[in-house]
Amino acid sequence: MTPARRARWTEALVTTPSLAWLLVFFVVPTVIIFAITFKPVDLYGGIGKGWTLDTLKSLFNPNYPAIVWRTVWLSLATTAVCLILAVPCGYYVARSSDRWRQMLLLLIILPFWTSFLVRVFAWKVLLHPEGPLKHALAAVGLIGPDTLLLYNEKAILLVMVYTFLPFAILPIYAAAEKFDFRLLEAARDLGARPLRAFWSVFVPGIRRGLLTAVLVVFIPALGSYVIPDIVGGPNSEMIGNKIAQRTFSDRNLPHASGLSAFLTLGVLLPLLLVLALQRKKGEEAPSMQEVS
């Protein structure tokens, strides 16, 4: 074999396993979501024979616009709050001394390593009507005895921020670490006030990290299901809850897959937008390497 032919062989050898696996277990199932939307339900909660437009019609459920709207604004709000907290935090960590920085990073990543359900449950305990936070706040008179901290949209937003914040801090920190902080001094030297220097020099300097942060917060947030399920109430459902409800309670797989197809489109849109934005600037796709 010639070296050139051998190189092609080796490439095929190391590419095929993962590529084939992802084609079968990621691409094909995603396509199936769209296909099953046009299948009828059978009596036993499975998928029937033939094709139908019933599911598509039932997606025009009058309750859905409100749920879609709630999903979008909760995701947007989560992203915004995460960025507001993550930018100063990433800045601070990047400017810390070496030892202190390792420590801070570990402290920030640690919650990510602990069980997701446990973290959500911890908030349920904390916010519970009989829980410690309620008692403390009521005792100092900040809230009335009847205020409900749990089972509403505010609780969902709080726990979503809690869950996604590490994912926002890490890429922003990674970008800030590569930022040349002398540029801030230069901006000050040229007459900018601190906030102005921060806003017009530092923020554009970490643009790549910001985009990654938006991507890894907003998109998974759109698909939230456990958080609204545990800390939300019957009037604060998100799309994820509906998908689960159609799947497990109603046993209507085609309907669930119609909703999933809708969500997939909603997810692809911002994803492609961000990727195109970065491609245009000649940058690589944002990476999740920082997360680990």
Binding site: W21, C89, K124, P166, M288
Partner: protein, 258 residues
């Protein structure tokens, strides 16, 4: 130049925010009060209750079986993928990268739902095996990213050097590549193991009767709001185990760097 205190204050706030619920949870696992609103004396009752709960132990066993299998499969697939992505810059690899990257941002519920439909359509019986397939699928991407990061500062002329000195493909992989990539593989494997143990959403969609994992068990306990203090106890144990594992792995990587 005087530095603003806002970044420091934000960081402190974030850290308090991160650890407050966790601390409250652990403290409450020793609280005799059912809801933990007030301190009603310390107790180990909830822990005793937990150890008598056989369903939890069965779920733990399932979780570990799946995690070990998915870690092994995803480390193999993720490493070859990272190697291909790093070594070649063909059009095929661009597609490959997109396929590796997308699962990292796709909401879990979509992955769970699509895999459920796929398994139903393909006639798979839902159970431990389908959970294993699903976990391997999302772990591949994470392992590939971790190993890829390690490969960035890997000097590939070392491979050429090995071949130059007479080593064939197999010898090069076994005697040079593997020992050099071992820390990266360990890091990727640890991540895959943790993700697999922790995964709830995808597991929930593709699990069948008798294949309950620990997160699925915890979820149903939370949902049915019974034995809340027992979940506190279980969570506290999980937290301690996780922190110990992270601490241990930090020590390990530090030693291998020295």
């Amino acid at each position: 130049m005087k530095r603003s205190v806002i970044p420091l204050l934000t960081t402190l706030f974030v850290l308090v925010f991160f650890y407050l619920p966790i601390v409250v949870l652990v403290v409450n696992s020793f609280n005799a009060s059912r809801f933990g609103g007030t301190w009603e004396g310390s107790t180990l009752e909830w822990y005793r209750m937990l150890f008598r709960e056989t369903s939890v132990w069965r779920a733990l066993r399932n979780t570990l079986i799946i995690a070990v299998g998915a870690t092994f499969a995803s480390v193999v697939l993720g490493t070859t993928a990272a190697f291909a992505l790093h070594r070649y810059h063909t059009r095929l690899q661009r597609l490959h990268y997109t396929l590796i990257y997308t699962p990292l941002v796709v909401p879990e519920i979509l992955m769970g739902m699509s895999l459920l439909l796929f398994f139903v359509a393909a006639g798979f019986e839902l159970g431990l095996f389908t959970i294993f397939l699903a976990h391997t699928t999302f772990c591949i991407s994470y392992v590939a990213m971790v190993v890829l990061a390690r490969l960035q500062d890997f000097d590939f002329s070392i491979i050429e050097a090995a071949q130059d000195l007479g080593a064939g493909w197999w010898t090069t992989a076994w005697r040079v590549l593997l020992p050099l990539l071992a820390p990266g593989l360990a890091a990727g494997g640890l991540l895959a193991f943790t993700l697999s143990i922790d995964d709830f959403v995808i597991t929930f969609f593709v699990s069948g009767p008798g294949s309950t994992t620990l997160p699925v068990r915890i979820y149903s306990m939370i949902k049915h709001s019974k034995n809340m203090p027992m979940i506190n106890a279980l969570s506290a144990i999980l937290l301690v185990v996780t922190f110990a594992a992270v601490w241990g792995s930090q020590r390990l990587t530090k030693e291998s760097h020295a």
